[in-house]
Subunit: 338 residues, 2 copies
């Protein structure tokens, strides 16, 4: 269904109107800036101009509502990813929680190092160590059991630098951008290398993005009857890696339409941006460039987390939208406004 009001003109007139109000005969309108955490400038202008073009009926660039698909990377794009990907922190926390049931871990890597507090030593085992940690902490239970564990963790665990819940470590300007697109008839999706079941328990509450619009990496699951009751068991086997060239594949599998708007922050998002750019008509491809070492972190080409190198070159060559976090964002995190 079309939203009742198309928010389409340039400028920041934002009409707060709901169908309910219309039904009861009134229509409250409030002029306010839906992107108030963005500083005025080129990037904000590009976003507003793009939305105006695709939502203006009769414009040559008009895009019908069902085709207004926007995809967002999660780590480093919607929420922070330092000092390491939050799902990895979750996994390390789970190792500690499970350790009493696994006395053998005292002599087994990567667990032995981890339990001594030596994260670096544990991760020195590379991909093999990480897979072993994920297998132990993310599989061998039902999906419902895993969801409960994630819900508990995000409700209680705080970020070491900021002392806030991880779900508060989201970017205020991006929350506004996602809501702004939705108010303009877009369907907003997450397309993340993170685990699909790690994100779904909280993305609707935090971003307004429902579980059916979350695309992520996944392990295989198996339908079983346990005492006659159906469950989905989480198997120790990878199903899909939603990263790099996997992102267009995941987008096609889940959405079956090409986005007209996509935002990422690292080389793992490059193919999603290329796939978005390759469609007909106007489109917006964006990157969050982490340039603010004071309010957040500054990193790009040489970072082991969220490395941004090739995608930055391609963005500059092709005139994609590049957010300079330090310059473009008035506020980084919602809790700064407290």
């Amino acid at each position: 269904m079309r939203p009742p009001i198309a928010f389409s003109r340039l400028g920041y007139a934002y009409v707060l109107a709901s169908c309910v109000l219309l039904l009861t005969g009134g229509c409250a309108t409030v002029q306010t800036d839906p992107l108030s955490a963005w500083n005025d400038g080129k990037v904000k202008q590009e976003i507003v101009s793009f939305v105006a073009k695709v939502t203006t009926q009769g414009s040559p660039d008009y895009v019908p509502v069902p085709e207004r698909i926007a995809t967002f990377d999660n780590d480093g794009t919607l929420w922070a990813e330092q000092p390491m990907y939050f799902q990895l922190i979750f996994a390390l926390d789970r190792v500690k929680a499970l350790a009493p049931q696994h006395p053998e871990w005292k002599d087994k890597e990567p667990f032995a190092s981890l339990l001594k507090g030596d994260v670096k030593g544990a991760l020195a085992g590379g991909e093999k160590a990480i897979v072993e940690i994920l297998r132990t902490t993310h599989t061998g239970m039902t999906n419902a059991e895993f969801e409960a564990i994630v819900r508990e963790w995000v409700a209680t665990t705080k970020h070491p630098r900021f002392g806030e819940l991880y779900t508060s470590m989201v970017y205020q300007p991006m929350l506004e951008l996602v809501a702004y697109l939705r108010a303009n008839g877009f369907k907003t999706y997450i397309v993340s290398a993170g685990g699909i079941e790690f994100m779904r328990p909280w993305t609707e509450r935090v971003y307004g993005i429902p579980p059916e619009q979350v695309i992520g990496s996944s392990i295989k699951t198996k339908f079983e009857l346990r005492d006659g009751k159906p469950v989905l068991m989480r198997l120790p086997e990878l199903n899909f890696i939603d990263e790099g060239a996997g992102k267009p594949v995941g987008i096609n599998e889940h959405i079956g339409r090409r986005p007209i708007f996509a935002f990422g922050n690292s080389d793992g998002d490059l193919q999603m941006l290329q796939w978005t750019a390759a469609g007909a008509g106007v489109r917006l491809m964006g990157l969050v460039h982490h340039t603010d070492a004071v309010r957040e972190w500054a990193y790009d080409r040489r970072s082991s987390v969220g490395k941004l190198d090739k995608a930055l070159d391609e963005a500059q060559a092709k005139g994609w939208t590049v957010v300079d976090m330090k310059q473009d964002w008035k506020v980084i995190f919602p809790f700064e406004k407290k």
Copy 2:
């Protein structure tokens, strides 16, 4: 967003109202039966009563709009599946179309039999023969190329018995049911063993179900740059079989919520119905039983297509809704109304 009007009371009052009408100040209401192709009786009553319960605010059975998920099998549930699954007919047509480029097929099964018009002989090779036919006809091209082939086929090819396009071989009562659920705030999904990319080019036009709400079997695809232009190549490798115990897995992967309403017609839908039934609160599990040899086809426990045996037993034991096509459907196909 909530639909502007909740269609919630018992009976068939159906308000044809759109937001546009509301915005322009008028509101046309027409009393009509949204399920007019259904005969009055137990099954229709079960459906209407279920929808009334979950949409009535303040009812103990009320379900918020985002959780109103309905899933439908396709072959034999939304469209016909005789004399064989339509996608198999499509594949056989493609073999004939491709034969001039493959002189070697004259001596190679299953192609040799097929090209002589001996479908039964070709399919005598069992699963191996079918996989070979699908590999040849469904892979080795881009997704966009495959989509164009499907669009052409559904626009031109007619069913041997009825002389109608395959996309006209859909069940009028089920079209009404899908629309009725949507008008009541449900998100309607297809969950089919058929190929996801075989369905997506036409499900929105025919059922009002957009590509992102189609779940089906799939082959692996690969993102590639071809002369600098991104494409998704269709690989000769299975990705997922959305049948039987695969259906709850597919539902979880794509939707991440449990349906409260599900409809199928064969044993391949049993686990989807069990998964739906296992949630809390009221739910409706339904089966289309093909009982009308005159207007459609009559088949169940012994059929090689759409076999309905265990699921029928379980439906009867558990009091699920079973549609007797001959008794319950006033009209089968939309073209009967011509």
